[in-house]
Every structure is written in C-alpha cells, then in structure tokens.
Symmetry: C2
Subunit: 415 residues, 2 copies
C-alpha cells in the first residue's frame, strides 16, 4: 500500500515558485546586513540538551525536540528524566547558539562582534495557521557594546532590510525589561513573581484585558494588583515616562533610541514606546523591541538585550543585543499580498529528436544559457503542436526545435 | 562555573571568513543548476521515522538521529522498539525527502520534474577528520525520465557546476547496479546475498583487496567466490563489457552515457567505467556514478538511478535519478588549496564621537554604503592613532572620522 506522503505534522514542503521568492528575499536581507558591517556565521541545528534546558527560553523550553542518546538501554522507570534518554536537541532560536559560538570562538573574534545568522529553528508548537514547527529566522546581533548605539544600529539595519524587500509603514514597538519589571513590582507583585506575571501579560493580544486579569487571579495573585498592573500599562506613555520612578539611565537610553530612530525613519515607519511589550524569552535584561506590520499588527521581527547569557559559557560577562526577522511571516505576507515579482527565469525547452543527439543538444543548450536562458532538454514527441502547448502549460516561455534551423521561438504567441 | 562551549560532538561552528566562501559557492552552484532548467524546492529536516527506517538507506539507517515522541510515558521494557519512543528523525539524505515531496505534490508538478535541493543532512557517524554529523548537500534530480538523457543531463550539469567553482580535472566514475549484481551472481553468490556482498565490496578503498576477501569469508561466504568476485571486477573494462552476459540495453545505455559525456567533457575532465563502484544506498536500481578529485581521489559528488522509491509513496512507479555534490568536501578542499578568493567586502569603520551623533552618523553610513562600503559605526576613543591600528587588526580596510571633514581614508597606508 502506498504510504501517506505528508510532511511531518507542523512542517511543510516548499514549491519551486515560493523558493525563487525565498532565495531572492534571503539574499537581499543578507546583503543589507553585510552592507551594515555584520558578518555571517553558522552553528549546527543541534545543540547540547544541557544548554538548551538551562537557557531561560521561557515557554519555548516546553516545545523542545529532543534527540535520543544512541545505543541507550531502554530500562527506564516511569519517572525517568528526559536527560537520561536524550543528550541533544534541536535549537529553538538562534540566540543561545550564538552565545555558545561566541564563547567557543572568542579568541578569534574582535569586539564588538556583529553577527548574522540565517537558519531554521524548531519548536513543537500546536500547529495552527501561520505557525510552523520548523521555521527560518534572520538574526543580527551585536556582542560587546554596552551603549544604546547597538540598539540603534540593530533597529536601523533591520528596518532598512524590511524596506529593501518592500515592507514600509511598519511600527517598531520598544520597551525595557527593567521598566516592565518596575511596573509589575509597583503594582504590588513581588520580585519572584515578575517572570510569571510577564508571561501572562504577554498574552494580552490573544486573551484580552479580562483574560490577563483572570489568569493572574487564577494563579492566586490579588485581583487588586492585577487591575492596577493593567491600568498602569495603559496609562504609561513616552511623555509621562519621566514621572515614573525608575533608574534615570534606563529611561534616558530608551528615549535616546526612540529619538535617534525617529530622526532616521523620517515618515517611512514609526517607533513607539509600548509598556505592555514583554517578548517571551526569560533571557532579556534591557531594551526589548518588536516590529508590527499591517492592519492585523502581525509581529514580523523581534529582539532585545541579553547581557547575561554569554556569561554562562564564558568566565566574563559580555553584553549582547539582537534583532530577528521572522522569515516565514515575511514570506507568507508577500505571497498573500503579491508583494514581489521574483527575478524572471526565461525558461526555454530545447527539443531534441533522439538520444543520439544528446551531446550536441547539450552543447547547444550551453550557448543558449550564455544568452540568459534557463534551458531544459526535452525529447520531441511526434505531434509537435500538442507538445508545444503542453510545454506552455508547464511554464516554459520559449522553445527551440533542435532539428530545425529556426532559432528561439516564443511559446504562446500564436500568429 | 562556566560551561564548556563546544558544539555537539561531530558538528562545527563556521567562522565569518568561511561563510563568505560558502555563500558564494552555494549561489554559484544554485545558479548553474537553475540555468540548466532545474527548480529549487525545500523539505523539512525532520521526516517521519516510519519513512526513514523503511527507506533502504543502507548503513545510514544505523546512523539515524531519532526524536522523542512528545509527552510519552516512559514505562518501557528493555527491548522496547525505537518506534515506541520516537516518531520522527533527522533526514540522512535528500533523496528520500524528495520522493516523499514528489508524491505529496505531484498534482502540482509536471514531468519530467527537475528538482534542486540544497540543505543539511544528519548522520551519527563516528567523528573523524572531514566527516561531520551535520553536513550540507547540493542535489539535483530528474523525476519522470526513463531515458539515459537524464543521466547525461545530471552529469553534465554537476560537472559544469564544479568547473564554475574552480574544480577541473576530476574523474567521473560510472557503473550500473545491474552490472554489479550480475558480477556478484556470476561469481557464485545467490541473489539474496547481493546487497551484503555489495556493501563489503564498497569498502575496498578503505580495507583493500585482502580486507574485502577476509570480510566475505568471515560472513561465511566461500573463499573461492570471494576471489572470483575480486578478479572479475579487476578484469572487466569498458572495452570487454560486451563479452559479459548481461542485458544488452543496460550495457548500451551505459556506453551511450560515457560517450556523450566524453564528447562534452573534451579534455577538461574524464569519465570511466568502474565495475567496483557500489554507492552505499540500497535504493539504487540502475546507473550509479561518483566524481573523484585530486591525488587522493576524494569523492566530491555521487548519485544514481532509483526507480522504485517514489512507488512507495505513490500508486504508480515513477522513474528518478539524482546527483549530489558533497558541499563540505568541496569547501574543505577550497580552504586547503586556497582555491578561491571570495568577493571583497570593503570594510569601513565610521568613527563617531558621542552617542548624540548616532542618528547623523547612521545617515552618513548610508551614503557610504551606496558607494559600496560595508560600514560599521565605531565609537571614537581618545587616542585615535592607537584605535586606528586596532581597527586594522580587526580587518577594517578604511575609516572615516565623522568629527572631521576629511573623507574616507585607507587604513595601514602610513604616509
């Protein structure tokens, strides 16, 4: 019996037409990143499970794909720990691998190190429209710069990349983890609760204001604190930020970034302070940012500062900040909006009569390739007319009948 | 305590300089493939374990990375089957995924379908120099063409790609699985033993003639048969192939391919019939081929015809043949031989004085990018002279001091 040929649940096959778009977009993004002085590196898709489980990846740690140890004896109790069975896992983002990479190779890298990473990450999410278990991210990170110049450079570079591939009129939302935790504590929560409260607040887009309050109450936090928290996030604006009691340096840096980006963006995109912005990962320590696009406010990029992660691998703590473009989201918007016409391949069918002509047909094909055609050899059928209309259906634009001396002809232009 | 920051055993981190080379080479290969009428597709790196285990992947099946089912209860006996614990695995090649892809999407594809796949595959090999557990392959396949024109097109396209990236003077070795199994049976082995005998014969490069004979004897095959087999593979040549009793069509097609490629190659590379060529996979059904390069005869590409694999997924049997470039081998040869000078990035450091100048420095950087520089913003230090020699060490070629009106200056040209 023939097997079901679907890809693994939550993943997808990508067809040729989409691949042309993806390849074009990926190289435009890569080119923009490189023009801005970033350098591409690559790490394996598999990482040690120890690192992954200890990485403050928030909810993503519940979605790890873990890989069986090899040759392991399977005499296990019901409560066996995952680490007894598995020793590696698939990466869920590109930030942890970069931190490990930097620590592993720091003796050959200079600070600030400006990294590009483009690759797939894996999360066993509940499959739903637009969410995949394997998806590509395009990240840039600056390692070794404590100043807000790093944030400005990341936001500017990412915005330029988005504009270059045809996205304009997006909104950069920015916050600082220290402002967020300040609000949470001011609302009456204790320091230990900041992380769980942040995670619940992050769901506001999906479950709404009342949903957040209910979830907090369900976790046995006082309803008063929950109400106060929501009110504070709603009242706080860029203008009244100064009245809020928090480290002056934090506020000043945030304002500086907003100001610099605003002057760079001119009117082509916006940047706003958004005190409800959380970003899921536990590893962020300072500014966090996200780019929303379109009427539904889809998040198409996200990032932030994570000054403590590299310290887990290195002896010294090294500051770092990164920004990641969600490649799949970008592509699916482009496909839906028909945003981009990929480079045109002039597909030509070179028709040959018999296999004995193959070698000379291949040589002829090379000549045609030099003229810019993408050439396929096709064996001629008896009824040329019928074959030509079939070739047209197959997406060919031109043909050349090798048995005649007539040159290249366009398909579908019936005279 | 700081963690060990090494990548997972058998994998590696890739540094910026190598990535520039890899990106250049990958796009040259991709461009060549597309010029020859192939179309790129992509499938996920994870595939159903059922498919993988049932794929006739030969020795590779012993090297599968398997991924734990999620939320599985671990009450297992010592002899639990891997399928009770794991439901997916990492692909070990790109051929099985392509067969599944074709079957899943055949209603939207035309025959012959000429596919490009470039991606990483995973094998838990014993780590050794030049062998990795995660490595990239560049495959082309033709689905739906039974004629030897498909083999010619694959070998021609792969050779052109290799020549384009600076590899010349290689040797294409070609054989046919049906000739191979014919020899094995003629030497006195029965049909059921053909696969295991092939696998042992395949090791001749590594363990030598005597090693092969010993291994066969160890598997309790008669020494006479083993000796006869080795002798036959050593005696058989392109010239005396006709005296060998095997299907005429098989011999004719093989000779046609050799002839066509020889006329295309002119003197820039060679093609030879090699009756000892096996190729590890169990799924090959017809011609098989490999490209060897350099004094050590490193295999840099391999492929063959696999007419039965797609039939496992589809109702109908569909002919298919593919050729894969071993990207890692190519890159490591290029790095060792210093074969290729990647595109030059003119790295420029734009020095700014204080964070308040960031926005205007970014604008200035954009102007410089338009002139072809890859620009990084660097905060100026007090001692400019010392900083400039540091920037030179860091690989910068040019600098511009934003606080002066002096234009771009070259680093390291002390006047």
């Amino acid at each position: 019996m023939a097997k079901n040929a679907n890809p693994v649940r939550g993943t997808r096959d990508i067809m040729p037409q989409e691949m042309i778009l993806r390849d074009d977009i990926e190289s435009l993004i890569l080119k923009t990143y490189r023009d801005h002085g970033f350098e591409r590196i690559e790490t394996p898709a598999i990482e040690s499970l120890d690192y992954l489980l200890d990485s403050e990846g928030g909810e993503n740690l519940k979605m790890l794909f873990t890989i069986m140890k090899r040759g392991e004896k399977l005499s296990l109790s019901k409560d066996a720990d995952i680490r007894e069975l598995c020793d590696i896992g698939l990466r869920y983002d590109l930030t942890l691998p970069l931190s490990r990479f930097y620590s592993n190779n720091s003796q050959n890298l200079n600070l600030p190190f400006k990294a590009i990473q483009i690759g797939n990450v894996y999360r066993a999410e509940r499959p739903q429209k637009g969410r995949f278990r394997s998806f590509k991210q395009c990240d840039i990170d600056i390692i070794g710069d404590t100043t807000f110049a790093a944030e400005v450079e990341l936001i500017d570079t990412t915005s330029k990349a988005l504009e270059r591939i045809g996205f304009g009129d997006f909104i950069v939302r920015i916050n600082d983890r220290r402002i967020l935790s300040g609000i949470i504590r001011s609302a009456g929560f204790d320091t230990d609760s900041v992380e769980i409260v942040s995670i619940i607040l992050d769901k506001k887009d999906k479950i709404g204001r009342d949903g957040v309050i209910n979830d907090l109450v369900e976790k046995e936090f006082p309803r008063d604190n929950a109400e106060k928290l929501l009110l504070m996030t709603e009242m706080l604006t860029e203008e009244n930020l100064d009245t809020f009691e928090i480290d002056d340096e934090v506020k000043k840096n945030l304002k500086n970034v907003i100001q610099a980006i605003r002057s760079l963006a001119k009117d082509s995109y916006k940047i706003i302070f958004d005190p409800t912005l959380v970003r899921g990962m536990g590893y962020y320590t300072g500014m966090i940012f996200e780019i929303s696009y379109g009427p539904y406010g889809f998040s198409i990029a996200g990032g932030g500062r994570y000054d403590n992660m590299i310290g887990k691998f290195s002896k010294e703590s090294v500051p770092a900040v990164g920004f990641s473009i969600g490649f799949e989201r970008i592509i699916s918007i482009m496909m839906e909006e028909n945003k981009y016409k990929p480079a045109d391949y002039k597909k030509l069918a070179l028709i040959y009569k018999s296999e004995s002509e193959i070698a000379s047909a291949v040589e002829q094909a090379d000549q045609l390739r030099k003229l810019g055609y993408s050439v396929s050899l096709i064996k001629g059928k008896k009824k040329l007319g019928k074959q030509l209309s079939q070739l047209e259906t197959y997406g060919f634009d031109y043909y050349l009948d090798g048995s005649k001396n007539e040159g290249v002809k366009e398909l579908g232009t019936k005279s």
